[in-house]
Symmetry: C2
Subunit: 349 residues, 2 copies
């Protein structure tokens, strides 16, 4: 079912998953396209960003943002075109980054919109990735919390993902030894040959701890955490004194339904934090760094313009495919930043 | 056996404990008093500081400092008097803070000495406590990592101990709501009535988590960690977003011999760090803040001179009693900063 002019397709949360979500937890609905009031714009979704944090919004466990209510449309960052404007600062045909969610059309009062112009329009989807939320996450988490110094060793999980791939490339720019961790030989080869990481280790293979030790002969100074689980357990013993661990995600745990069996490794982590004087800090980019987006965007735009970054996307056509694609992403099936192409318009010149 | 002029009594590590240390892990030896070479001073120990971190030095697990070798004297900060000087900057009769360890006499080349003068000589033992290593730990951990703001809630474990009592009092000076945790009704009463904490909860009583919740109605912004174990488990669910956890010790774990049984609470901590964007940071005062001692000393001396602090000591006479006192301290039997009075001299005027 492709995008149409008078129908708003929307993917709503049908029920809350306990454990891994399935397609049954989503429902595709249709409704009339809403009408903008004075001061609003009507937006048509072109590109939809799928990101692991959305799993958290499907649950009603206490979190930093309210969950998606059952029956409501799933939230998401989007690239959209202004279809109709009753807002002084926007006109029909403008391309914007917006928060439309998993649907064809949405209204906005303009406050959450970011107008695309200049070089970003060459790759509008990058506004959801390397020049958007995931690139911003990589940039701030690595530089503001991780504070890598030239010559230090930086380990990054989910190395070919939207965040990890940018973390590793920034760390290389800063003169660090960069070791990625990814799922499967193809991703690892890509991280080494295309992204330019010094090494990338396949966590599907046995003995991750031993291999990490071999490829981090001077220990680990910064571990950029987005996965948790067994990768964290392999990294922790190798952390150097005064090491830093920015935590932007824990995808390995998102679908867990109970506290795992013992032994209880909590004291091991506490002891490592004390003995090695580690810093471990969680952050939510939109809450903690909103005031530094311009700084990030300027710097990253420059790096991108200088062709210093590679950014791979995993683009899937069709809003209907969002649930299946999202579920696959939580299992690591994607290869690069996941984007749903909801409609295939050509950017304005 | 009291201190004598020609004999150096020394308590050495007899063997490494597996689990809780007993007196059998220490041995009292005697030797001749050493002779200072040119550029050295001979120091006679007057006061000896006993601190929980020494348990770590008894083990040969990897740590931030080398362990005490078996057969060698136990290390410790001390207040000592210069008996004989062959060093231009010291003369016989000077009182200094030194690192003599658990023995009557030691040599020094002067580099690790801090001369006592002025108001500190009124309470020389304070140079090992509120104006020394433990006060410095409290000051830096709370202010540099915890960064408490007026109106925030600060929880401090081991609330009547050498570090915790100072943490809580600084937090009160900064306008915080301060909740202590201590072992037993007497310590709790003391924390409230003498130290001026808003509340102090007895961790020997049931339902610590429930009581904490009641007395921290707005959650916890800073938790100053020195114990670990069940206290940490009670605190964690109450941490507020952007909370800070300086970690200066984990006394509950020091004697543990194996990873505790499940469930594995490591993912719970990781998840809390992510969702609540917590900062958790370990520090070792002597390694991480050596360059800020003067700043601390100036400020704390001023507060002490203004009578804004109470500092309780648990003074035990006799070097022979150091092992038993140390073992008791690890079990929480002390009440205040533990000092061994090795010799009872009167400070110079």
């Amino acid at each position: 079912m492709p995008q149409e002019k008078h129908t708003n397709r929307r993917v709503v949360l049908a029920s809350r998953p306990h454990g891994a979500p399935s397609e049954a937890h989503f429902r595709l609905e249709t409704q009339h396209v809403p009408e903008p009031a004075e001061g609003q714009v009507l937006l048509r979704t072109l590109l939809l960003s799928l990101d692991p944090y959305m799993r958290g919004r499907m649950s009603d466990a206490p979190s930093y943002v309210p969950p998606v209510p059952v029956g409501e449309v799933m939230g998401a960052g989007t690239v959209a075109v202004v279809e109709h404007s009753r807002h002084a600062e926007f006109q029909a045909g403008d391309w914007v980054v917006s928060q439309n969610g998993w649907q064809d059309f949405a209204l906005s009062d303009g406050r959450d919109l970011f107008k695309l112009s200049g070089p970003v329009l060459k790759h509008p989807s990058w506004a959801l990735g390397i020049l958007g939320m995931t690139g911003f996450t990589a940039y701030m988490g690595l530089l503001d919390i991780g504070k890598p110094q030239a010559g230090e060793t930086v380990v990054v999980a989910a190395a070919t993902g939207a965040v990890g791939s940018v973390v590793g490339q920034i760390a290389k720019l800063k003169g660090c030894h960069v070791v990625g961790i990814a799922g499967g030989a193809e991703k690892c080869r890509y991280a080494e040959e295309v992204l330019g990481f010094d090494t990338c280790l396949d966590h599907y293979q046995e003995g991750l701890g031993e291999r990490l030790k071999r490829y981090c002969p001077e220990g680990i100074d910064v571990y950029f955490e987005s996965t948790g689980g067994k990768i964290f357990e392999a990294v922790l013993p190798l952390m150097n004194n005064r090491g830093r661990i920015p935590v932007c995600g824990l995808i390995a745990d998102y679908n867990s339904t109970q506290v795992p069996a013992g032994p209880n490794q909590l004291p091991l982590l506490q002891s490592a934090i004390l003995r090695k004087r580690l810093l471990m800090q969680g952050f939510i980019i939109t809450l903690d760094y909103a005031d530094r987006f311009d700084e990030f965007f300027r710097k990253m735009s420059q790096w991108v313009a200088e062709d210093r970054f590679v950014f791979r996307e995993d683009v899937v056509d069709g809003l209907d495919n969002a649930p299946e694609t999202f579920i696959g992403m939580l299992e690591g099936k994607n290869f690069g930043k996941v984007i749903i192409r909801v409609a295939g318009d050509t950017p304005p010149q």
